[in-house]
């Protein structure tokens, strides 16, 4: 009897141990199979964000019996690597620009159910994130963060000119001309006029601010050729011809305005908070002299467009459930807020509760989150569509300035020509 009771105890203990080990795993799956999850992450210029994310992913993988392989895409190779990942037959989870991801939704998993599960934990998404995550009512990406876009000013030059920060585009143009000092080789407004992403965001915002649009509210009728868009183009060309914008701006890339602002060659620019990040570390004196504002208002009001990023899962991924579990981990409210605090404004949340964090209530961060709050999706006032994304990705609207400056075309004719190009995209 005693032997039997010992055996029974042993069996009970073993069973308990088995049940306990099966239940443990910090929210991991029930199966003991080792998973492999490949993740593509976009490099942030807030370098601490990159290392923090790597740590998050590695720790989660360790706790969840998963080999996590993270590939970090350098910012300069974003288009190339994002496209390569989307076109490839393999891959699990990626953080991609929403405008790039949504051109290839046939390769992406429907994430509607995942979004429904997650949304409750952070009070929903800002409008731009939500609009650019869905096509025909289906969620194809889960909005994660945005690169906020604000105006930067050399406060010392503004004060020396006896001026104040502008609240309208007209005031901004006037200030830019006043701050231009060719003798000191300082230009008033430093914004590229070519294919760079800063100008793409700037131009989209200016067009809306003047009451213009690329496409009508029906999302199909191209409406670029309008007096409002002409006014927006003329606003920028007026600054260029007045010498407030450097003559080589047509050839700039996304880093040139950063370099010139940090090198004290331009007094005003529009950019993400990467300028602050570098100035704080390399030139503290300049950092103290930087002022910010949201985009000044145009005749039609105040608008913004920001580059947004969302998580996508490949349709044929063998680890879709693993990926969704990882996303549940990432989208924990506290975890999100911690990530954005570490980012120091390099990235701004697309989740409302994270955006309500105290960090975003003051100074440069308030302007940054404001740009996300008021941002409109591509295709506005119509719905966000694949065609709207393609037009933006190919920088077709930017091409107006190449025609005006390089080819000496009349702005109205340049707008008409670009309108035809955009019509071809929408007609496909």
């Amino acid at each position: 009897m005693r032997v039997l009771s010992v055996h029974r105890s042993a069996i009970a203990a073993a069973s308990l141990a088995l049940v306990f080990s099966a239940a443990s795993g910090c929210g991991g799956g029930n199966d003991a199979r080792r998973h492999t999850l490949s993740i593509v992450f976009v490099e942030s210029w807030g370098q601490d964000v990159n290392s923090h994310f790597m740590k998050l992913a590695t720790d989660w993988g360790r706790q969840n019996n998963t080999d996590v392989q993270v590939d970090v895409i350098p910012i300069r190779e974003l288009d190339l690597k994002a496209t390569a990942w989307l076109q490839a037959p393999r891959g699990d989870l990626a953080l991609l620009p929403q405008n790039l991801a949504m051109v290839n939704t046939d390769k992406l998993r429907d994430l509607s159910a995942a979004v429904t599960k997650l949304e409750g934990s952070f009070g929903g998404f800002y409008n731009i994130g939500e609009q650019m995550a869905r096509l025909d009512g289906t969620w194809y990406n889960i909005p994660y963060y945005a690169w906020p876009h604000v105006w930067f000013y050399r406060k010392d030059l503004v004060d020396a000119a006896g001026a104040s920060l502008p609240s309208t585009l007209a005031e901004a143009a006037d200030l830019a001309k006043r701050l231009t000092d060719r003798k000191s080789d300082v230009y008033g407004l430093g914004i590229g006029l070519g294919q760079d992403e800063d100008f793409s965001m700037f131009l989209q915002t200016i067009i809306w601010a003047f009451g213009g649009k690329v496409v009508q509210a029906d999302g199909k009728t191209v409406a670029l050729n309008s007096p409002e868009v002409l006014a927006a183009v003329n606003y920028i060309m007026d600054l260029y011809r007045a010498g407030a914008i450097p003559p080589g701006a047509l050839g700039w890339d996304g880093a040139t305005n950063n370099n010139l602002f940090l090198g004290k060659k331009i007094a005003i620019t529009a950019n993400a908070l990467s300028i602050d990040y570098v100035a704080k570390r390399r030139d503290p004196t300049l950092y103290q002299a930087i002022a910010h504002s949201a985009y000044p208002a145009g005749p039609a009001g105040r608008f913004a467009f920001v580059q947004t990023f969302g998580w996508v899962i490949k349709k044929n991924s063998q680890e879709a459930e693993t990926a969704e579990r990882f996303l549940s981990f990432l989208y924990d409210d506290a975890r999100l807020k911690e990530l954005f605090r570490i980012g120091e404004g390099a990235i701004a949340p697309l989740q409302k509760s994270a955006g309500a964090d105290r960090m975003w209530s003051e100074g440069r961060y308030a302007d940054a989150i404001n740009s996300v709050e008021v941002a409109r999706p591509l295709g506005w006032p119509g719905p966000f569509t694949r065609a709207a994304a393609e037009v933006f990705n190919r920088r077709l609207v930017n091409g107006i300035f190449a025609k005006v400056i390089n080819d000496k075309e009349d702005p109205a004719a340049a707008i008409a020509a670009v309108t035809e190009e955009i019509r071809r995209v929408y007609s496909q």
Binding site: T83, D106, P246, G248, A249, N393, R394, F401
Partner: protein, 291 residues
């Protein structure tokens, strides 16, 4: 079977095995390239999804493509004669240079193009670049070197020439030797003028070399990507958007990889005609040099 026959069979098998071993890499290479070409054609014809028109017709109907082709042809037509004009005197200088110094002449070609391009980019940066600072020293107003279409185009061409002229000159240097030797001496004895000596001795010897270098330069110019991409990204506007940049941009920004391959496919007839023309000139130059 007799011993001799068996031995002969064994020798034949051994030779066959040896040949198989030796020829396998080449066969595998040709099959691999053929497969890649077939895959490229598949990407062009099959890959686009239902809501897009075919990549080939999109390329054919794109006016920017034809401007790009013209621009690429202009670029090739500019850089090749420039290289020729500069390579010959450089080749003479290389011939006279001390042997220990000769390596320095091909350095621009050996430095990775990406690194060389960054050097040119920083030199011609429109605000604070070296070129403008030198101008400022002489009281001259700075220029938007890479922001003005014409200067950006010529800087791309200058970079291409700067990199490849040393290669041309190094290739030509041995061929221009001997012009001061016995043949030249006999030509002088025969009373030939310098122009006649150049026409009868120098040109026939250099002509095959010239056309061979032309062919290489043509291929490299058409495929020129990294220097242009890093220097101007095809800008300002599309002033330096050559075929490779056009293909790359359309493939990765339109996210239709087939668009990139389609650009080359449409350009193929024009490129093929140019290559055949150069090869024909090369063959006849070789014939003339032999006779």
């Amino acid at each position: 079977m007799t011993t001799t026959t068996a031995a002969r069979e064994h020798q034949r098998d051994r030779r066959r095995s040896l040949l198989l071993f030796l020829l396998a890499p080449g066969a595998a290479f040709v099959v691999a390239v053929g497969f890649l070409l077939a895959l490229a054609v598949w990407e062009i014809w099959v890959e686009p999804s239902a809501h897009r028109t075919s990549t080939l017709s999109a390329t054919l109907r794109d006016p920017d493509f034809w401007w790009t082709l013209e621009r690429t042809a202009l670029f090739a037509a500019l850089v090749v004669p420039l290289k020729w004009a500069l390579a010959l005197p450089l080749a003479r200088i290389i011939r006279t240079a001390p042997e220990k110094l000769r390596w320095a002449f091909i350095l621009p070609w050996v430095i990775p193009p990406g690194v060389a391009t960054l050097a040119w980019f920083w030199l011609f940066y429109d605000v604070g670049g070296g070129a403008n600072l030198v101008l400022a020293k002489f009281g001259v107003e700075s220029r938007a070197w890479l922001g003005t279409p014409r200067s950006a185009f010529f800087i791309c061409a200058a970079l291409n020439v700067w990199r490849e002229v040393p290669l041309w000159a190094t290739a030509m240097a041995p061929s221009i030797s001997g012009f001061g030797g016995p043949l030249e001496h006999m030509a002088k004895l025969d009373g030939l003028s310098q122009r006649e000596r150049r026409r009868l001795l120098v040109r026939p010897r250099l002509a095959p070399l010239f056309w061979a270098l032309c062919l290489l330069s043509l291929i490299w110019s058409i495929g020129e990507f990294e220097t242009v991409w890093l220097l101007t990204r095809g800008g300002p506007g599309n002033a330096t958007e050559f075929l490779s940049v056009y293909a790359f941009r359309h493939a990765f920004l339109s996210q239709i990889l087939g668009r990139g391959a389609a650009a080359y496919l449409v350009a193929l007839p024009f490129v093929a005609v140019s290559i055949v023309a150069v090869l024909t000139m090369y063959s006849s130059a070789v014939e003339r040099a032999r006779t």
